[in-house]
Amino acid sequence: MASKKEEIENRKLILPGEEIISSIDYLPGRNCFREGNSIYSKKLGIIHVTNRVISVIPLSGAYIPKAGDMVIGEVSDIQSNGWIIDIKAGHDAYLPLSGVREFIDTNKTDLSRVYAVGDVIYAKINSASGDSIQLSMQDTRARKFVSGRLAKISSAKVPRLIGKEGSMIKLVKDRCKCRINVGQNGLIWFEGEDEEKAIKIFKMTEEEAQKDGLTDKISKI
């Protein structure tokens, strides 16, 4: 079915099972696999080559939690030693007592006074494997949001919204005069002057992340 590919078409749209290149000079990176001499894509996405590593950047799909990611979540339940956080992924995350900055004496303090059901937090994923996702508030960026609004985009579009070294999100913050925190899980917190413009930009990113010229379009809004 697949003809021998000699050249990589960088930034081309590719489907699962489609051949990217027939060569042993490259390594299969994220979302790719090697069979024989060829490298194939595992997902529907865009081909990306850096040095000798080929990856595929997915265009859609549920958020797969990764250690080190900052995510936004909602407290959905309180247990004796921590909180269950809904991070809009296939599994709920857990914020243990040990993940909170302050010392809490559970004999004296009701955990709901720290984080109550319905609270929205910005936290870091300490570890994620299988069905166990552990969060922590130890990172300096972590906090509970007391005001502001939430938006959601597909987690696959988050890198585009953030941009290279945060260039895109900085542009959005400046143009909308908003404070913005983007969770890798696709949830976005924002608050500021032109919140409507921010929403427009989030929507545009969701719809056109894979196309060129998004930065220009956004600058022109």
Binding site: L15, P16, N31, K42, K43, A62, G90, A156
Partner: protein, 226 residues
């Protein structure tokens, strides 16, 4: 006996495809062979209920096939039947080889397929829809799966049996095929036919699956290449 609508031996019905038809799902697609239409929605990978069923080495794949009451000539009662349960299992076994299940331990990938109009070939339409929905959901796959059924009416083979053709056919042989690695992942047969014919029919199905695969690819790409 002639085929309905003057179709030739290896003509399949007009195919309709649409990706992203259920916004709430992680991935979704609609697929139709003529009047037979199936909608598939994928949720996952996600939590397994009850927890003890989960596997620590890979994801569970749960494909549920249902026929909507108004889909059939005589209204069918809602809820699972023995037939729909078997088809769900056969579809699960047809899609599992195409998915890197090992990437999602302690999770389940739920694929719900509703047939909203039935005119023969429902399981093949369901599979085609499910395959696209999985790709749309960003699930790691070895390749897409395409599916079609065929039979023999009189002396001629008949691809993609439609409605009453099923009664006139000596057999019904659905096949699911992965064009990227040339593997058959679903094979069933109802009927009475010599080996040679069955082999010919399987090959007829495979050729058609390759064409269907092309359409699936186009539909998935069209979603993003506006």
């Amino acid at each position: 006996m002639k085929r309905l609508k003057n179709r030739k031996a290896n003509d399949f019905r007009t195919i309709t495809l649409e990706v992203g038809v259920v916004p709430n799902a992680d991935g979704s697609a609609k697929f139709g062979f003529g009047k037979t239409i199936a909608i598939a929605a994928v949720y996952g990978p996600r939590k397994v209920y009850p927890k003890w069923k989960q596997r620590s080495d890979r994801a569970l794949l749960n494909c549920v096939y249902s026929m909507v009451p108004f889909s059939t000539t005589d209204r069918c009662r809602p809820g699972p039947s023995r037939r729909s349960t078997e088809i769900g299992k056969v579809i699960t076994d047809a899609l599992a080889p195409a998915i890197f299940l090992e990437e999602y331990p302690k999770s389940v990938i739920d694929v719900y397929i509703d047939v909203i109009q039935a005119d023969s070939g429902t399981r093949t339409a369901a599979l085609n829809a499910a395959s696209m929905a999985l790709a749309d959901a960003g699930i790691s796959m070895r390749g897409l799966v395409a599916s079609i059924a065929a039979g023999k009416i009189g002396k001629e083979y008949a691809l993609d049996l439609e409605g009453k053709e099923e009664d006139a056919s000596a057999c019904d042989i659905p096949v699911a095929y992965m064009p990227t690695n040339k593997k058959i992942t679903l094979l069933q047969m109802d009927g009475d036919l010599p080996v040679k014919d069955v082999v010919n029919i399987i090959n007829l199905n495979i050729k058609a699956c390759e064409k269907i695969y092309e359409k699936q690819r186009q539909a998935l790409k069209a979603r993003w290449d506006k």
